[in-house]
Symmetry: C2
Subunit: 109 residues, 2 copies
DNA sequence: TTAAAATGCAGCAAAATGGTTGCATTTCTG
DNA sequence: CAGAAATGCAACCATTTTGCTGCATTTTAA
């Protein structure tokens, strides 16, 4: 995959993670259990509809999945996008780690 | 460090990474060499001032550092914030990996 | 069957973002 | 010194984001 298309895929995931409230939601879902909107809203200084919007952002980039159960809507975390983001950062840092090693070597020559 | 304060630190870094142009700038700087604004603007379908703004975003969260050299301003990548972001994602995924293992174990009991 | 609970949808306002242009300033170079 | 090169700064604009409220709908439970 090209650099550009990997960036186009990954950037929206980073953007979705770039908000304290959404990181908190991710954190609350990180035990692997699904939770309803009301449950997820509990303790946040934000209206229920505000939380719904944040969940929609997370869902749009595939970080969470929703399932309607009776009258409630349960959200569950989806590990893949995070793994991809992790991978992206790992490759980026590997790149300049290598570069730094080469630069050091060049200096010491 | 508490969950919340880690989120407050990390969220802005993710937000800064959540843009294709900025990911491209990071990528261009990943060889460890510093580059001027004109160099970084080359080939981007964006005005030089637009690029400057993106660089300011990256600088504000510590992803790059600027140094004035004569009439040009050279930017260099700063590995730390990315390492932090990587660490954050690693801890998050470890959390639900553990949870999934526990859930499987519970089911198989 | 009636009321409460959980959610969805629409509209609206404030703020942030991403981009532009124009002009001033600093620094090199012929 | 004069002009070109590189940047900084300010103002402006369109769009997106983030939050709200109000009301409708669906589902449960008494």
């Amino acid at each position: 995959m090209s650099n550009v298309s990997r960036q186009r895929q990954t950037a929206p995931v980073f953007a979705a993670l770039g908000d304290v409230t959404r990181l908190e939601l991710i954190s609350r879902l990180s035990d692997g259990q699904s939770q309803s909107i009301v449950q997820l809203s509990d303790g946040l200084s934000l209206s229920r509809q505000g939380v719904t919007k944040h969940l929609a952002v997370l869902q749009n980039v595939g970080l969470v999945a929703a399932q309607r159960v009776g009258r409630e809507c349960r959200y569950r975390i989806q590990p893949e996008p995070i793994a991809d983001a992790q991978d992206y950062l790992a490759k980026a840092s590997a790149q300049w780690d290598d570069a730094i090693v080469r630069l050091r070597a060049a200096v010491e020559t």
